[in-house]
């Protein structure tokens, strides 16, 4: 199908084999994923594109271990995760993934610092180390002055940078970004994208969902979806 398929198993961080996801909408079955086989290499930057209803959100949820496949296999870092229970999937998300969302999804009652510390809390870090790590990450995204602010006091771009800092807290293997610039103006969106590109250059695998081709252009590879199937793949990054 593509270059990755031939480059051996070792470089693969994500592999789907005949992945299907069928939703029941009333008495109608919707094939959100209609049998997809693909693989993403470690350290790649993918953009998943497609019109609404093409299955890109479902794809994201499945890859992010938030949703189960109806059939087929999902192999993550060589481990078949399609049959894992809820606790094991939570554990995988905690150790391997960072999430960035269109609506930032920060917890409004918590300060910036607490928001960044959240994954560390579930990893069982103590307060002292968590605080140090949060400070380091806030510096990385240029928000060290805002640690004690609440998200509502920040601009959209700042909130998204907090979200990125939070996504990085657990040193994830893969960062999932769901329309990360959707709620931002073009200039701010551009900054966020540059941050993602930078992270990719530092070796993180990034999987981004978007429907804007100029945003997808930042990604090395673009996966176009249509009706639950892979329409085409572009790029060679």
């Amino acid at each position: 199908m593509s270059a990755e398929a031939e480059s051996g198993c070792d470089g693969k961080i994500v592999q789907l084999e005949d992945a299907r996801k069928i939703y029941q909408m009333g008495n109608q079955a919707v094939n959100a994923l209609a049998g997809i086989t693909l693989s993403f290499a470690r350290g790649s930057f993918w953009a998943i594109m497609g019109p609404s209803g093409s299955g890109k959100s479902t794809m994201m949820n499945v890859l992010g271990c938030l949703d189960h496949l109806t059939s087929g296999r999902y192999v993550l870092e060589g481990q078949d995760v399609s049959t894992l229970d809820d606790d094991s999937l939570s554990e995988l998300r905690l150790r391997l993934f960072g999430f960035i969302f269109q609506s930032f999804n920060l917890i409004p009652q918590l300060t910036v610092q607490r928001n960044i510390e959240l994954p560390l809390y579930y990893l069982g870090w103590d307060a002292h180390h968590s605080a140090a790590r949060a400070k380091e990450l806030a510096e990385k995204v240029g928000l060290e002055e805002r640690l004690n602010h609440h998200p509502t006091e920040l601009s959209g771009g700042q909130m998204q940078r907090v979200a990125i800092a939070r996504a990085l807290a657990n040193e994830p293997e893969i960062i999932f970004a769901d329309e990360p610039t959707g709620n931002l103006d073009t200039a701010t969106g551009e900054q966020i994208l540059r941050l993602l590109v930078e992270l990719n250059e530092q070796g993180k695998t990034i999987i981004m969902v978007t429907h804007e081709s100029y945003i997808a252009a930042h990604a090395g590879r673009r996966l176009h979806m249509l009706d639950g199937l892979v329409e085409r793949i572009e790029g060679d990054g």
Partner: protein, 422 residues
């Protein structure tokens, strides 16, 4: 490590609750008043029953007290004209009672006379109790000085008296008083001992001793003061002839108390034309008091249960609203990697912290109320450890029970749906 984590979770829970101070306070109000009323009612109830129980216990649970009472006919007659009423227990009654029942361990006859007692310059109206040495074994009062009455006093018809502590003080008597002469009426008695005094009333049974008693051998009492007493009231002269005012009976075991009391009642009925005696059983009163207390506790428990139920439902209601309100937060936490049980833990801790804080405020309130009752109304209240620990345990339980459902609801939030939630 694990403990630190629990403490940290509790602190996080408190922090979260402090974000909505007013709401948290209002939420917990049901528990506050529920627990407060439990503590207050328990302490008032405990105080009342402790007082009653103490009084009854002083009478002795193995004892049967037979008292002389004026029958209704005599009561009517004595108010109309000068009249000699002859009633009460006789010396024969005592002997008969003592000899007829093998369940009886010992008995003490009591003859009461009111006389002025005089020790040097001090005078005091005393209740003179003519009795036998057994009396002191039946009511068991600590001897403060000297000795109690002896068999030999009775045999030798010695004019000796034992004072109660309170009476002795009023007469300025001390240990050095032993051996001195106490004038009772117109006769002199040698003070041989002082015993500790107890006082009070339990139901309608008078405690066999008062604070100002003087105990003398019964034979001596009969010889010196006779069986007839005269009382002058508002122009009329009332004369009464009473042999014995009380017979105190002690049986060997608690199981014998009630059958023996019934037997005595029956036997006296055969010898007395009038109902001029009363058989009372402290044990029955004790049982009655215990039954009353049980009933009281059941009523109290139901009221407390209902108020805590209402409080718990209030908490559950708010926590369910909170889960809905925080759907997005739950989704974020789940996406980041929080397990279901960690979400359950988070919400459960918040509910439990809320209800325990409510419980603590309630206990504070509930301790204050009995204190004020005692201060302003003079009622006895007793705050036991149990009446504080129990509501605390209950409020913890309420937190767990009513927090579990909202917490499980929170844990079952689908992160995909929640994150789409705006």
């Amino acid at each position: 490590m694990h403990q630190i984590k629990i403490v940290r979770n509790i602190l996080l829970g408190i922090e979260n609750l402090l974000l909505h101070k007013l709401r948290s306070l209002l939420t917990t109000l049901g528990i506050v008043f529920g627990v407060g009323s439990v503590v207050a009612m328990l302490s008032v109830g405990e105080g009342a029953s402790k007082e009653a129980m103490d009084q009854i216990r002083k009478l002795g649970s193995n004892n049967i007290i037979v008292s002389a009472i004026k029958s209704i006919d005599d009561e009517a007659a004595s108010t109309t004209h000068s009249h000699m009423s002859i009633y009460g227990l006789t010396y024969e009654d005592h002997v008969r009672v003592a000899e007829s029942f093998d369940t009886i361990r010992q008995t003490a006859p009591v003859k009461l006379v009111r006389k002025e007692g005089r020790l040097r310059e001090r005078a005091l109206e005393l209740r003179i109790v003519g009795t036998t040495p057994e009396w002191f074994e039946l009511v068991r009062r600590p001897v403060l000085a000297g000795r109690v009455l002896l068999e030999s006093d009775e045999e030798d018809q010695l004019a000796v008296a034992v004072l109660t502590e309170f009476g002795a003080r009023r007469l300025l008597a001390a240990e050095s008083t032993i051996g001195q002469s106490l004038r009772l009426g117109s006769d002199y008695f040698e003070v041989v001992g002082i015993v500790k005094s107890e006082s009070g009333q339990a139901g309608n049974i008078q405690i066999p001793d008062e604070q100002i008693d003087a105990y003398i051998p019964i034979g001596v009492a009969r010889k010196y003061f006779g069986d007839i007493t005269t009382r002058r009231t508002a122009g009329t002269r009332e004369r009464e002839m009473v042999d014995l005012h009380q017979i105190i009976v002690q049986v060997g075991s608690i199981d014998d108390v009630e059958p023996t009391a019934a037997g005595i009642e029956n036997m006296l009925g055969n010898f007395h034309k009038k109902k001029d005696y009363l058989v009372s059983v402290p044990l029955a009163l004790l049982r009655q008091a215990e039954a009353t207390k049980r009933t009281f506790n059941i009523v109290l428990g139901s009221i407390a249960g209902i108020s805590l139920l209402v409080g718990g439902i209030g908490i559950m209601n708010i926590m369910l609203a909170s889960v809905t309100e925080r759907t997005q937060e739950i989704g974020i936490r789940r996406a980041i990697g929080a397990k279901r049980r960690q979400i359950i833990g988070q919400f459960l801790i918040e509910t439990v912290v809320l209800s325990i804080i409510g419980g603590l405020i309630g206990i504070g309130l509930g301790v204050l109320v009995p204190f004020m009752i005692t201060y302003f109304a003079g009622m006895a209240t007793v705050i036991t450890v149990g009446s504080i620990v129990l509501p605390l345990v209950i409020s913890f339980g309420v937190g767990i029970i009513f927090g579990l459902y909202p917490a499980v609801r929170a844990a079952n939030v689908d992160p995909i749906v929640a994150l789409r939630h705006e």
